[in-house]
Amino acid sequence: MKRTVLTLGFAALAIVAIMMASRSRSFGATVDDKPATQVKIDNFVFSPNPITVPAGTTIRWTNQDDIPHNVVSDDKSFKSKALDTDETFTYTFTKPGTYSYFCSIHPKMTGKIVVQ
């Protein structure tokens, strides 16, 4: 019994370690413990929009529509795949600036991230 608990404990630790490692990989040099800032896509609208965040912030977009959307910066510096319902896309903004983006499937949908 004790052995099982220990094994589970190690397994949990291992999972945490793997998660940390994968976070490091996907977020590059700006890893910290802050949770991602959420932007939802609902009824063909990005919200909140616009948003102002400190440099190093990770934004996570979640598509809540029954129609696929994507997230593409106007200058193509970041681009998601098509997000089906409940799929997400994350991107970390390391440098200050204003980043305009849109859904290239429904280009009337536009958004802006101000990084300070």
């Binding site: 529509d65 029954d66 129609i67 696929p68 994507n70 098509a82 319902t85 499937i105 009337k108 536009t110």
Partner: protein, 322 residues
């Protein structure tokens, strides 16, 4: 197709059409059926009920084809969990037409997510259609993630650029346009300069009495720009068609039937075979509209188009999948 007493159109015009200025609107919303005859650029529309005699005389012509649109293969949300089933119903409807169509036009959004198996699914189902030739233009859902590469590999043979082309059938000149590529932030559908230039040359040498049919996914008229239902540079394209007496524009994208006459041009949008979308501005967004299951097929449909040579007329009949 079967006439149904409940079919009616909201506006029943008998236009004289000559020198008419401004916009003449003839709207047949989703769930209704409309019979339209165009003569010299004028659309005459009638409700489907009480049409039997006229149909036989007026609609039988040298050329008959069907438009289907927005099959969204792969869509599985509550608005329709069986888009293959409703596409099959559309094909059954086509196969039951009194006059077998010469070919099918598919005005885009063949698939929902541009997945190979979604394209395969539509191709497979369409094999059972009475008309073997299918002419496509892409919708924005067919070019997701690869800028239309897969679409072109499948359907782009004998096309130019992103997949535009023209062909002639029984004296009617058909032009398939692509307005879903390189869309700009905040913008509408877009044809682009290269395609516009091609189109200008394509129609330059045609006689003005040639009936023209233009088909593209996103409407080539401003249906509701707030929802992206229009094409930024469509006016330029339509400018090349001013000299022609009869121009018919067939679009999809908005998942409901709607018509408008403007000068020599009659615009039609088609119903989807997959799911309905709300009327312009009548919902928070143009997303799929969930309706009671028993109503769904009354909001999906196909379009039958007939051309009578000499009469200079295109007869357009929308019918639901019920």
């Amino acid at each position: 197709m079967a006439d149904k007493s409940k079919d009616e159109i909201l506006h029943d015009h008998n236009h004289d059409g000559i020198d008419r200025r401004g916009f003449l609107k003839c709207m047949a919303w989703a769930g209704t059926g409309a019979f339209c005859v165009m003569q010299g650029g004028v659309l005459k529309s009638y409700s489907l009920s009480g049409l039997t005699g006229l149909k036989a005389k007026e609609i039988k012509g040298e050329l008959s084809f069907v438009q289907i649109s927005d099959s969204h293969m792969g869509f599985n949300k509550p608005a329709n969990t069986d888009v293959a089933g409703t596409l099959k119903a559309a094909i059954d409807k086509i196969n039951a037409l009194p006059t077998a169509p010469g070919f099918i036009l598919h005005t885009g959004d063949i698939t929902h997510l541009s997945k190979p198996e979604e394209f395969d699914g539509v191709d497979q189902l369409l094999k059972s259609a009475s008309a073997k030739d299918v002419f496509y233009v892409p919708g924005e859902h067919d070019v997701i993630g690869d800028d239309g590469k897969q679409y072109l590999e499948r359907y782009g043979k004998n096309t130019k650029g992103a997949g535009w082309y023209s062909f002639d059938q029984k004296g009617v000149h058909f032009i398939g346009l692509v307005n879903v590529m390189n869309l700009k932030a905040g913008g509408l559908g877009s044809l682009g300069n290269e395609q516009l230039e091609w189109m200008e040359n394509d129609v330059k040498h045609l006689s003005k009495s040639t009936p023209i049919v233009v088909f593209a996914h996103i409407p080539l008229w401003s249906v509701y720009p707030e929802w992206g239902w229009g094409t930024d540079d469509s006016a330029q394209a339509l400018g090349y068609l001013k000299k022609f007496g009869s121009v018919t524009v067939l679009n999809g994208h908005i998942h409901q039937t709607m018509q408008k006459v403007e000068g020599n041009v009659t615009f039609h949008t088609a119903a989807s075979t997959a799911f309905p979308q709300p009327k312009p501005g009548e919902a928070p967004s143009p997303g799929p509209m969930k309706v009671p299951a028993e109503q769904l097929r009354s909001l999906l449909g196909i379009r039958d188009v007939n051309y009578v040579q000499g009469k200079h007329a295109l007869g357009v009949t929308d019918s639901t999948l019920e």
